[in-house]
Subunit: 363 residues, 2 copies
């Protein structure tokens, strides 16, 4: 079986590394030549809108998946006509690519979000700011990631500047939610509709980029895990979803407000490689090939640290007991995710102690 992957970044790299043991082969499609997945499988470095290149890419593939959430929807649909299975379904991709569509979709399923308003004009922005109050966050509806395409409007005199800065159309204003932390759930569903859920993960960001995840998340109340699973299940059922789905939530006064979803394996699930019985990457592939899903049981108390902008010396990282290093072979650049470190502790105190040692290396 040969799997095509749109995007050849670190997520694709890890999909291949976790999929090879199942006897799978891989082919990547990414306009950026020599992405992190390029070392370990063939890569077609063409444009996502090049129909001939896509058709060539599709030849002989048994399934196609994405590791990049902004794959043009037409690309996904075209491939659906050429290969037996494209997963997650293009409709899911479509629902997640536009923040307005996504939040409207969440609400339609009874999943709470922060309040939001569509903004396509300065008048709409002013009205929205009045309704939701300030501070509020103006965001582009599409192509935002890692905190890009956002403007926090603290006071009314920033409205014009924010509107101009973000391009003046296709925006969304989100009411400011006072939240205690961000948590995420990783869910997976195969073609038969079997599903499984990883434990909630606590995510700590810096500069809009995920910095640290703890799994299972500390201090989760007995109702939160089933609540998150129920929300993910509603999304997956509504979309006839196949693959791994990640939903990020704001935890506010104990309630989970959906912020966004990713129709792919997710950074907050990297801990599963060493920290869970089956990794998110393997389960994503199992789901797409309609194989039995693997256990999502955590193997201990895990922390994951992203290596952003620079990487410490390998020997220093590996000298920390229980540290597992994952380098993506990307050129260092400020704000770029270059790798991550996972550590699995026997108890939460163990996790914190090792995390401390590692943070001293990477700060």
């Amino acid at each position: 079986m040969k799997i095509g992957v749109l995007g050849a970044g670190q997520l694709g790299r890890m999909l291949a590394l976790q999929g090879y043991p199942l006897g799978l082969r891989f082919r990547f499609f990414d306009p950026t030549a020599k992405g992190p997945a390029n070392d370990l499988a063939e890569q077609h470095a063409e444009d996502y809108r090049d129909v001939d290149a896509l058709k060539k890419f599709a030849q002989g593939l048994d399934a196609v998946t994405y590791e990049f959430e902004n794959v043009p929807i037409e690309t996904a649909r075209l491939l659906s006509d050429c290969v037996p299975h494209v997963f997650p379904p293009p409709a899911a991709l479509e629902a997640s690519q536009d923040r307005l569509v996504e939040k409207t979709f969440f609400n339609s399923l009874g999943i709470d979000t922060a309040p939001f308003r569509k903004v396509d004009s300065l008048d709409e922005l002013r009205a929205a700011a009045d309704e939701l109050g300030l501070p509020a966050i103006l965001k582009t509806r599409r192509m935002g990631y890692d905190g890009k395409g956002q403007f926090v409007i603290e006071s009314a005199d920033q409205i014009d500047a924010a509107f101009t800065a973000l391009g003046g159309a296709n925006l969304i204003l989100e009411g400011f939610v006072k939240f205690d932390r961000e948590v995420s759930i990783l869910a997976v569903r195969n073609r038969d509709g079997d599903s499984a859920f990883y434990p909630l993960v606590e995510n700590i960001h810096r500069g809009g980029i995920l910095r640290i995840s703890r799994a299972p998340a500390p201090h989760i109340s007995p109702l939160q895990q089933p609540d998150a699973e129920d929300k993910a299940m509603r999304v997956m059922n509504a979309l006839n979803y196949v693959g791994v789905l990640a939903i990020e939530f704001f935890e506010s006064h104990g309630k989970l407000l959906a912020n966004e979803m990713a129709c792919r394996v997710h950074n907050s699930g990297h801990w599963t490689i060493e920290g869970a019985e089956t990794s998110q990457f393997e389960n994503h592939l199992r789901a797409g090939l309609n194989l039995p899903l693997g256990s999502t049981q955590p193997l201990g108390f895990t922390a994951m640290i992203n290596l952003i902008g620079k990487v410490p010396e390998t020997k220093d990282v590996l000298a920390v007991p229980g540290a597992h290093l994952h380098l993506y072979r990307k050129a260092p650049k400020p704000g770029r995710k270059l790798g991550h470190i996972t550590l699995v502790g026997e108890d939460p105190a163990d996790r914190e102690e090792r995390l401390e040692a590692l943070l001293n290396l990477v700060e």
Copy 2:
């Protein structure tokens, strides 16, 4: 860092899969085109004695290792002159390639083996059979693996036939040891001389081929683990060893008699991918790059089943809780190792229960 690997079989495949996360790259050398490692790295398919091809292979490599124990010693030595590090040291390869040299080496370090005699003539064989008694096992000194190149001599009238069958020279006669089981130890040593040991593994063979490993081995007496580690340490120190070393022992009346060693990652260590904190593959690479060794701590009670000659349906294997499938993408052929399954149980009873379920699939 780019690592060259002599041999592109399943061991090379797993070395690459476990080494990529460390940011390493790989290049394989194997006369057999499109070996199991071929999917996931470049391969030079030339002859091991082609000096020009070896020099081309060596270009730009930071280190070279072997995944195939019968690499010609001249090949290893030539590469030592071309790349900064070749590991394990060629001298170790040399000591392990000839059963007579190997057993003499063990004995010289005070490590017991079955009694043995050099056999280069029919007269020597007759004398050896007299001294050691029958039954005894006549073996080729070189190139034997998976039970090949062996002849069990039950009675004196088989002596001539055995001698002829095995080529009539460069043989060794080994006294028959009544042993209770075979166990193996996996040890690892880095260039600084730091070492680590995995727990003893119990190995069950069928038709001369490893069928099942259990790790940690059940019913190990308190003295056996330190005894095995001490023996491995003596071998590693004597050879200034770098990398993973496997030593197979016969357990006879509680004593460990060294049978053979492998200067490479070993089939009886495949369980470490899921069953230990750090896999043998990663530790082999860490050792060769002089990085801190990873913990060899087992994560539970693991069994490994080799898939020989045929493979069950992926969906059936993955339906067994805790089963992890590793396929090598080799064409099925009787007696050929095509993959393996690992399962990690919480306790020995759990391991046996799951093992039973899997054996029903693969028998």
